[in-house]
């Protein structure tokens, strides 16, 4: 699609770059380089992924059999809450910001992100926020235990762990808003000559839409948790009926943030998958323009469906009908994307390296999550499913098999560019198959648990739910342990391995493959011209 006509100047730029930045720890603290910052984002998110994963495994261990064995109910609730907050805000979102930092400038032919210092700040806000979340487990009263959705009045009852979670969310909000401002500015102002918007790789497009969503909704979340904070400490009654407020108001505000948030989590993944599928089909992406429109449509529609998360809260039947119809409309552009990916593969010349496996796994399992989402959109069926394990299964299909698998696809796809080495292909494929099998073992059976009536967020359950819970727990441990293969593969790839050429994938398109591997410290100091 894009062809760089200027000569590649990566080598000389890389050479000049080395003298200008401090070495050691100060390099990472003071860096304004998009590649350094991208790497820090990616490592940070992987660390958080392991922390949140350990919490998930503790949850699953407690649920291995009926009765209370390992943890007390109050601690169990802290684990489910922190697992959600850490995975959404600490693992998935930063992972894709890391991809954006690394790849956007390379893909649009920019020398760096638009605001280097702000970029540095938006990363360095993350560790204090993570620290607040994790250490809140050790303060009197423990961490927030009201679920990641933080519904009042339960949040009003909690100890100082809740305040720490609120401040952590404020900080994370600042960080992601700044990251998004940077992304939007970079895309709008720093594209190479000839790189029109409709020539941008799909990953850039998906991030552009995502960044607007982030800027629109993170302040809404900040508002909601600030109202919780003032209700807790300063005598306001936003969410207390006794003072003229309404607990359900919080839910409306939260989900006005929360529904776009789930698209913030998944949309950049759409971009990664689109590029990976096209590369390994050795064929241009089918329906590029309709892909762009579909992503934009999903982004806009995501603001209009929030109350489908709260069908059972008690709203007028007309409101339920509206939210049901609006939600179902999102299935149309989502379907278009699935069809486009299939058509891209059709009559291509397909090969199945690890990124492609994860991308196909993504499409397959994300479609399962899409269908369960459609089932949940139907109000009357949702009345049975709401707040049961069916919902847990549904959003793990979209967030783990969706967002996480697309992040794996992207990581394997671009690792050669980042490290200059090929990763171990065989190990990558083993990682995929183990993840795929254990993921389904963990979460598919949870559909059945939910349909049969097992509520979510309970530390102990009735006997008829035992067997599926045991399968799920075994699957979770398999899934968790498989991720260590990924870590091992990355470390060995950084340390050595076969030398990667500038363009390691035969069918790959785009400016990022015109710079050498590993990408030099400074790239595109002279912008390429795209025809």
């Amino acid at each position: 699609m894009n062809t760089a006509t200027t000569t590649v100047n990566g080598h000389s730029a890389g050479h000049e770059g080395h003298g200008h930045h401090p070495a050691g720890l100060m390099r990472w603290i003071t860096t304004t380089n998009h590649k350094d910052i991208g790497s820090m984002y990616l490592w940070f998110s992987f660390a958080m992924f392991l922390v949140g994963g350990c919490m998930a495994l503790t949850i699953r261990s407690e649920l291995f059999q009926p009765g209370l064995q390992l943890v007390r109910p109050e601690f169990f609730n802290q684990l489910t809450t922190l697992h959600g907050l850490i995975m959404v805000f600490g693992a998935i979102m930063p992972a894709f910001v890391g991809f954006a930092n690394w790849m956007l400038p390379l893909q649009i032919g920019a020398s760096d992100m638009a605001f280097g210092r702000m970029n540095n700040l938006s990363f360095w806000l993350l560790p204090p926020a993570a620290l607040l979340l994790v250490t809140s487990m050790f303060v009197p009263g423990g961490a927030a235990a009201a679920g990641w959705t933080l519904y009042p009045p339960l949040t009003i009852q909690q100890g100082m762990g809740m305040d720490m979670a609120i401040f952590a969310l404020h900080i994370l909000g600042f960080s992601s808003i700044m990251g998004s401002i940077n992304i939007i500015t970079t895309i709008f102002n720093l594209r190479a000559p000839g790189m029109t918007l409709m020539k941008m790789p799909l990953f850039c497009w998906t991030w552009l839409v995502t960044a607007f969503l982030v800027i629109a909704v993170m302040p809404v979340l900040a508002g909601a948790v600030t109202m919780t904070l003032t209700d807790r400490h300063f005598g306001t009654s936003f969410f207390s009926a006794a003072g003229g407020g309404d607990p359900v108001l919080f839910q409306h505000i939260f989900w006005f943030f929360g529904h776009p948030e789930v698209y913030i989590v998944i949309i950049p993944g759409f971009g990664v998958v689109s590029q990976v599928i096209s590369t390994f089909s050795r064929k241009p992406l089918f329906g590029y323009a309709s892909m762009v429109y579909a992503v934009a449509a999903i982004g806009i529609l995501s603001f209009t469906v929030w109350a489908h998360h709260m069908y059972t809260v008690g709203m007028p039947v007309t409101a339920q009908l509206y939210f049901m119809y609006a939600t179902m409309f999102i299935a149309v552009p989502t379907g278009v994307k699935i069809f486009n990916w299939t058509a891209t593969m059709w009559r291509g010349s397909l090969s199945f390296e690890t990124p492609m496996l994860f991308a196909i796994g993504f499409i397959f399992l994300f479609t399962v999550g899409g269908f369960s989402g459609l089932v949940l959109a139907m109000v009357v069926v949702d009345v049975q499913m709401q707040d049961t394990y069916y919902v847990v299964a549904h959003f793990h299909y979209t967030m783990v098999a969706g967002a996480l698998f697309s992040a794996f696809a992207g990581a394997y796809y671009w690792l050669p560019k980042w490290t200059g080495h090929m990763y171990n292909e065989k190990l990558g494929q083993v990682h995929f198959w183990l993840s795929f099998i254990f993921f389904n073992m963990t979460f598919f059976v949870q559909h059945f648990l939910g349909i049969a009536g097992m509520p979510r967020r309970i530390p102990d359950y009735a006997l008829q739910f035992t067997d599926f819970n045991q399968i799920s727990t075994i699957g979770a441990f398999g899934f968790g342990l498989s991720q260590l293969l990924f870590l091992y593969n990355i470390i060995t790839c950084i340390k050595g391995g076969p030398k990667a050429p500038a363009k390691p994938w035969e069918g790959a398109e785009g400016l990022e493959w015109d710079v050498p591997s590993p990408a030099p410290y400074h790239t595109w100091e002279v912008q390429p011209v795209v025809k």
Binding site: P66, L154, Q320, G348, D387
Partner: protein
Amino acid sequence: MTRAAQRVSLLRLAGGVVLTMLAQAVNAAYQVNFQEPATKIAQAVYDLHMMMMYICGVIFVGVFGVMFYAIVKHRKAPGRVAATFHENTTVEILWTVIPTIILLVMVWPVTKTLISMRDATGADITIKATGYQWKWGYDYIKGEGEGIKFKSTLSTPREQIDGKAPKGENYLLEVDNHVVVPVGKKIRILTTAEDVIHAWYMPAFAVKQDAVPGFIRDASFRADREGTFRGQCAELCGKDHGFMPIVVDVVSAEKYSAWVAEQKTKMAAVADDPAKVWTLDELKTRGESVYAQNCSACHQPTGKGLPPAFPAVDGSKIATGPKGDHLNLVLNGKAGTAMAAFGKQLSDAEIAAVVTYQRNAWSNKMGDMVQPSEVKASRK
């Protein structure tokens, strides 16, 4: 052991494990669908869900049939050249319009079912269900049985939860007082809550309605067969969210009338004479049972609590301080904590008894007591 022998014994072990797992799988209750519906609406939901499963299944097989054909047939091979097409307006319009039509077809019967599900008019009996941390309270407020009220608390013994006793058949799905309703009559459930949000969830009736403190919501059902039905609280409500089940007995009209009569006599019998002056021992005995039902989930049967979230009563400043402060705390709760205002939940006699019990149990030896008349005077 030789290597061959090792291999054989390993195989035997593996075989044994597989056989045990298979045997378990045969015996296990792998329920993969809804509980058997007991209302027309629940049956409609069951059918709609099946319809969606079929439609989604067909689409899934169709789309991934095409994709897997490509995966098998369009692999990279020597001499294979990828096609270069990348758009086709006709196809793209078709796969936008057809799914839209399918969705409209799906949504029509759902709309009809939803409208009848939400119609709570013409109820024969209205019951208010109030969520408390962590039990349900029921008030029969209209229809046959009007005036009946009771609390419904988990009856699974603590030993079963802690693994010190074998678990019973209805583990975690059993309560002391069942909700009883007549078969074939329309029952309207009004939900509300005292402290945080709960949800009244009864799978066999396809009813799930959040119970929001300070507000009243409603749902309704008409059970078409007799039986005992079990559900749970479905909204995270704190520590014991998993331990506040719901049990509904659907009985014949005659049995229902008999139950109503029995409840009325029972309520008259236990109603406390407000003028009665209690002895210390009477208060302590009564207080112990009130404590077990209302306090021990947080403050523990030992009175040691689970600090710092749930402070100890044993040796606490409140329980060994002036009794007016103690009474006030129990009556009005403590804002910003899980300590509820029990004045709204318990009678004068119950409050008097539980305060007296707390002041004289464990290592607390205050020797004083609170009379129901004092509670009445302290109520605001």
